[in-house]
């Protein structure tokens, strides 16, 4: 579905993504892991058109999408969430969701002035959809709250909720789990699986929670220092020496002392 060839992104002299090549198969939930600063978010940003690559090429279903602006990619069905929540802080939670779908006829000024009827119908449908998503995310009681007033985790949920407002082909999730309650995260995991199974969404998931990755993802790609370090099932990855050293580690050293103290 998405093929990344030899991608390089430099900041000043620093190579944040350093010749990464990978491909994402249609219909999979691909996990993307790697140490902090490995270049995962940067890779997302390049694919999603926020950053332009220094070198390399990205294709989506055979079509070259390198350097296309994010809104064009959105129209092609490529959605993403932000690691650091980018909510519309002065709008209500519900409006945050309702603004998402593209091609709303009310977004054309002419209709805004003279097409009240059509807009009203569309709005009703949108509203219902938004409320459904909010309920799913357990934040429906906050629908009229300003998004800026949400808690850290709630903002993350809203990020996710936006991708659920439209029919996407491929969704990039950048640490949706960080700061989200584990019980809720399980539910989110269920939803991702369902969207994947029932609607055929492709997902790429950055996450540091191995349980979550384990439950959802196959295959898993591990990046380090801007390059792809390893690829395979989670089991294979977990067994990879380099991955353990750079990323997974071997658990707490001080655990016993404290627990008994």
């Amino acid at each position: 579905m998405i093929v990344v060839e030899n991608l390089v992104k430099t900041f000043g002299g620093f190579r944040a993504v350093d010749g990464a090549s990978l491909s994402i198969e249609e219909g999979t939930i691909t996990g993307l892991i790697g140490p902090n600063g490995a270049g995962k978010t940067t890779l997302f940003n390049v694919i999603a058109g926020v950053l332009s690559p220094t070198e390399g090429r990205v294709t989506m279903q055979g079509e070259d999408i390198t350097g296309l602006p994010p809104h064009t990619l959105f129209d092609k069905g490529l959605l993403r969430t932000f690691q650091i929540a980018h909510e519309f802080s002065s709008m209500t939670v519900r409006e945050n969701l309702m603004m998402v779908p593209g091609g709303q006829s009310g977004e054309a000024l002419w209709n805004a002035w003279f097409g009240r009827k059509r807009i009203a119908d569309e709005e009703r449908a949108l509203l219902a959809k938004a409320d459904e998503v909010l309920e799913f995310l357990t934040i429906d009681h906050l629908k009229d709250e300003k998004a800026g007033n949400l808690s850290g985790g709630q903002k993350k949920l809203l990020e996710l909720g936006r991708t659920m407002m439209v029919d996407a082909k491929i969704v990039f999730l950048d640490e949706v789990g960080a700061g989200v309650n584990r019980t809720l995260l399980n539910t989110i995991g269920d939803a991702i699986l369902r969207l994947n199974k029932e609607r055929g969404y492709t997902f790429v998931v950055i996450e540091h929670d191995m349980d979550f990755i384990g439950r959802l993802c196959d295959p898993v790609i591990c990046m380090a220092e801007g390059k792809v370090l390893a690829e395979g099932t989670l089991e294979e990855i977990k067994a990879n020496e380099q991955v353990i050293e750079a990323y997974l580690g071997t658990g707490l050293k001080n655990k016993d002392q404290v627990a008994t103290a």
């Binding site: 700061g179 584990r182 019980t183 809720l184 655990k255 002392q257 404290v258």
Partner: protein
């Protein structure tokens, strides 16, 4: 039971003129202890931390540090009293370099803080590498490390961390927890909010489960981990 070192006692309060978020919420920690707050998103965990730190008005209840009532002190004054805090969001100076961020952590210290800085760099080697880079250009996990490093620079008498491990890789998380334990062992009480709740409760002496601004469950880390309902509802089974 004697008075805990730091206690937010039956706090009730909310943001500005808005509704109460906290309802008779109590949180306490003693020297050498790690207290962990867990709970669903929006339960009021961050709010409770901010209330303890004086960043929002506590309408009823009080906050006491070492027996002294500090309910009406400003956050700065609490810093001077030895409290250190890492907020959940906006917790670094994005336009300052990493090193300057750490220096700002040591702002109130009059002594030489080179050693502490070296310790922080030891703990988070990547920060040493990026020490002259603007913190805003770091990756999410790196920022988190800067934020914790900044708080450690204060050499606080009590350390409060709001989700310090959000977004950090497993290896760094382990080290972070290790370090937190070490800090606690030197006798500094640590109060933290965690969503990586199981790992956190494993090292916690005390755990609080907050739900809708109220204390829902309280116990030692072990007890809470063992509690079937807590596990199911808040720790993801």
């Amino acid at each position: 039971m004697s008075e805990p070192f730091l206690i937010g006692d039956t706090m009730t309060g909310g943001y500005g003129k808005g509704p109460d978020i906290l309802h008779d919420c109590t949180i306490a920690v003693n020297p050498g202890e790690i207290a962990v707050i867990v709970g669903p998103n929006g339960a009021g965990k961050s709010t409770a931390m901010k209330a303890v730190f004086g960043m929002l008005e506590v309408r009823t209840g009080s906050v006491r540090l070492d027996g002294e009532d500090i309910t009406s002190l400003s956050p700065q004054d609490r810093v001077i009293k030895g409290m250190g805090f890492v907020p959940q969001v906006r917790n670094i100076f994005t336009s300052l370099t990493v090193e300057e961020n750490l220096e700002m952590g040591a702002f109130i210290r009059k002594d030489d803080f080179k050693d502490t800085m070296a310790q922080v760099y030891d703990l988070f080697p990547i920060l040493k590498e990026k020490r002259l880079q603007a913190a805003g250009e770091l990756s999410g996990g790196q920022r988190q490390q800067v934020a914790v490093g900044r708080a450690l620079m204060t050499q606080p008498k009590v350390l409060m961390l709001d989700e310090p491990t959000a977004g950090v890789s497993p290896i760094v998380m382990d080290e972070l927890f290790d370090r937190i334990i070490e800090v606690a062992r030197t006798g500094i009480p640590i109060l933290m909010v965690e969503q990586n709740a199981r790992q956190a409760l494993e090292i916690a002496d005390k755990g609080y489960v907050l739900v809708q601004g109220r204390n829902a469950h309280t116990g030692t880390g072990k007890e809470l981990l063992a509690d079937e309902e807590v596990r199911r509802s808040f720790l993801g089974g």
